[in-house]
């Protein structure tokens, strides 16, 4: 396990969660989670299945809102502003906090329209030239432009799995978000495609704040600066990635990263 990811750089806090609790009906999925997400860093959320890491990720852009019977308690702030405040517009919040999902889910439209969709609905582009430029820039940033520049008007669903996932990343960054949430973005991909996405995440870090849920501890170690370990709805431990993987303070973290459970 290489730990090329440096220690946390002590950047300012972008998102802050305080005493976050999530309930699905009567069942409590998250218990009093407090976590800071630092700007321009990659924060990895790890833990065994059903530990609440995906649930926590989805509270950060209120994707849990649409789940029937889901309640969120506590406070989550984006740039010190409570995102669960009634005055917050959820549509705008999701434009600022973008998301990439576990399974690549491009729209059944052309590659161009996939990327242009976000900017169009938010009115970020007015002319064809502006749209062209945003599409090109986003695809370049997602490292996909070279591969697809000659077939921008072919369907996005015709790409390979790894390309589809990079298309989804391009689509997310086309809206110019501040934070990108990634829910196990590589779990459906082969190792080569995974390596490309990981490289991409490392590049994107300079412009965006990234929170990534991953099942792979190696991946967390490779791409993240900070790691949070969840277990049974508790946030057990959070700290610099290097520290979590070399010198965890909690016994459960130790057990998980050494493969005794999970």
């Amino acid at each position: 396990m290489t730990l090329h990811a440096a220690k946390s750089t002590g950047k300012p806090t972008k998102m802050k969660a305080v005493d976050v609790e999530v309930f699905y009906g009567e069942k409590q999925a998250l218990k009093k989670v407090a976590l800071d997400v630092h700007e321009n860093e990659v924060t990895a959320l790890i833990g065994p299945s059903g530990c609440g890491k995906s649930t926590f990720l989805r509270t950060l852009n209120r994707m849990n809102d649409v789940i029937e019977g889901c309640r969120v308690k506590g406070q989550i702030t984006l740039d010190s502003q409570d995102i669960y405040d009634p005055s917050i517009d959820v549509v705008q919040l999701r434009a600022r906090v973008g998301m990439v999902f576990q399974k690549p889910n491009p729209f059944p439209k052309s590659i161009y329209d996939n990327v242009a969709y976000g900017p169009r609905i938010h009115g970020l582009v007015r002319t064809k030239e502006e749209t062209d430029e945003v599409v090109q820039r986003s695809l370049e940033r997602a490292g996909l432009h070279k591969e697809v520049k000659d077939r921008l008007h072919e369907s996005g669903t015709g790409l390979s799995g790894g390309q589809q996932q990079r298309l989804c990343i391009a689509r997310a960054i086309a809206v110019d978000p501040e934070v990108i949430l990634m829910d196990e973005p590589c779990s459906a991909l082969d190792p080569i495609a995974t390596a490309r996405i990981e490289e991409l995440i490392d590049e994107l870090r300079s412009n965006y704040t990234i929170v990534i849920v991953t099942h792979s501890m190696q991946q967390a170690a490779r791409v993240s600066q900070r790691t949070a370990f969840f277990h049974l709805g508790d946030l057990v431990e959070v700290g610099d990635t290097a520290q979590i993987f070399t010198n965890p303070s909690d016994e459960r973290t130790q057990g998980y990263i050494t493969g005794r459970f999970g």
Binding site: I121, S155, C168, A172, V175
Partner: protein
């Protein structure tokens, strides 16, 4: 780990095992044979049905004509002498037609015999001559040669549906004398069997040889247009609301149960509802496609809602999440992504429910669309009938000529249905997209 299973020796290799395997294959073979038998039986029943309908009905698409040369004398056609349309309409074309057939068989002179000869002609003969004159008044004073229909039972004789023994025994409305005249005309080469333009271009008639399906086809089209215009937007909107926006609570559960039950309500109940509400209370015109369309729309709504909800549910949630994750509002998620992807399913469901409505008779009987209507409707408030009701009416008529008309109208209805299903398949292919 290896000692977890106490493996019996030869569990899968003994004779017993071979027997068990043979039994499994046998049951599979039996099942397949049973399935194929069921399919073959269904196919045979369908073919038999089509055969009876087509063998009865195809002859209705041709009709027996007699060629006559009609003298359009000014005294008979235009008693006013001013060539005005209203005057021309009142001309004595029956007399012109009679003189024309008389000219074909000049040897018939006795008054009694002439009456029998005139009976060979259909009432349509004078109508055809009148229409020709109205279209072109300059024909007055000239003579025109045209083919006019013979009366229904003569037509039936020509088609072999009535045989000579029927006529001799007095079991038909043709007398042996008329039959003799018919044979004389045939010898002169004046009888011909031609494509029946009346059948596809006119409305109902008491005379089988003049009855057509055009009036009821237009009635069906107008009725279905009303049904589509009401049921499609209402059904899709309800489905979208229930599936994408409505909270899941006991009220929406109740609504769902009710919709499912409504889909199973016998259609005649919708007819009674239409009679009580749309005709009595709102005063919609009786027998009109407007009222019929509204009733059929009510009947189709639950089916469209159920089909649309199923289509919406089949859109993968990942597409909704992707759009929501980009900051699309709920209505944008629905209109930009979910609805277009669900459209093939929604359209198929809609067209199938419309096809169902097209074949519906019972509710329309309740609102008076069963009336005898000769004119082709021109608007949705005109009195009209629809194809299945027309079939019902003809099937109920005692004249022999209506037997083949009934089957032929069923063929037209089936063609209509096939066309609608073809449109459904076409739309499905056109809008189908992969994800």
């Amino acid at each position: 780990m290896t000692d977890l299973v106490d493996r019996r020796t030869g569990a899968h290799t003994s004779d017993d095992a071979a027997k068990r395997l043979a039994k499994r294959y046998a049951s599979e073979r039996n099942f397949r044979a049973f399935g194929m038998g069921a399919v073959l039986f269904a196919l045979a029943a369908l073919l038999l049905l089509l055969y009876t309908i087509i063998s009865d009905g195809y002859k209705a698409f041709v009709t027996t004509n007699v060629t006559v040369t009609a003298q359009i004398s000014p005294e008979l056609a235009d008693p006013g002498g001013k060539r005005e349309v209203n005057d021309l309409r009142r001309g004595d074309y029956i007399n012109i037609a009679r003189q024309a057939i008389r000219a074909d068989l000049p040897e018939v002179t006795a008054r009694q015999d002439l009456r029998e000869l005139y009976g060979l002609l259909s009432d349509g003969a004078s109508v055809m001559i009148r229409d020709r004159v109205l279209r072109d008044p300059s024909l007055i004073g000239q003579s025109i040669t045209l083919k006019v229909p013979v009366s229904s039972d003569v037509d039936m004789f020509n088609k072999g549906k009535i045989v000579e023994s029927d006529i001799a025994g007095g079991n038909a409305r043709v007398t042996p004398k008329q039959l003799g005249y018919y044979k004389q005309l045939q010898e002169k080469g004046l009888i011909s069997t031609d494509f029946n333009t009346w059948f596809l271009s006119s409305g109902d008639s008491r005379q089988p040889e003049l009855a057509g399906v055009w009036g009821s086809m237009v009635g069906s089209i107008l009725t279905l247009a009303i049904t589509l215009a009401l049921a499609f937007p209402l059904g899709v909107a309800s489905a979208v609301y229930l599936e994408e926006f409505a909270p899941k609570n006991k009220w929406t559960d109740l609504i769902e149960v009710n919709i499912n039950n409504l889909a199973a309500v016998p259609s005649i109940v919708f007819g009674l509802l239409g009679l009580a509400v749309f005709l009595q209370f709102f005063g919609l015109p009786r027998s009109a496609p407007l009222a019929g369309g509204v009733v059929l729309a009510l009947m189709s709504l639950p089916i469209i809602i159920i089909a649309s909800r199923a289509a919406l549910r089949a859109v993968p949630p990942s597409i909704r999440q992707a759009a929501m994750g980009l900051g699309a509002s709920r209505i944008q998620v629905v209109t930009h992504h979910v609805l277009p992807l669900a459209m093939p399913g929604i359209l198929t469901g809609t067209i199938l429910s419309l096809a169902h409505a097209l074949g519906e008779t019972a509710p329309l009987l309740m609102i008076g669309m069963v009336a005898f209507i000769v004119d082709t409707p021109h608007s949705v408030t005109d009195a009209a009938t629809v194809l299945p009701v027309q079939i019902y009416l003809w099937a109920d008529s005692p004249e022999r000529g209506f037997v083949e008309k009934t089957s032929a109208a069923i063929m037209v209805l089936l063609a209509f249905l096939l066309a609608m299903n073809a449109v459904a398949i076409f739309l499905r292919k056109k809008f189908e997209r992969k994800w």
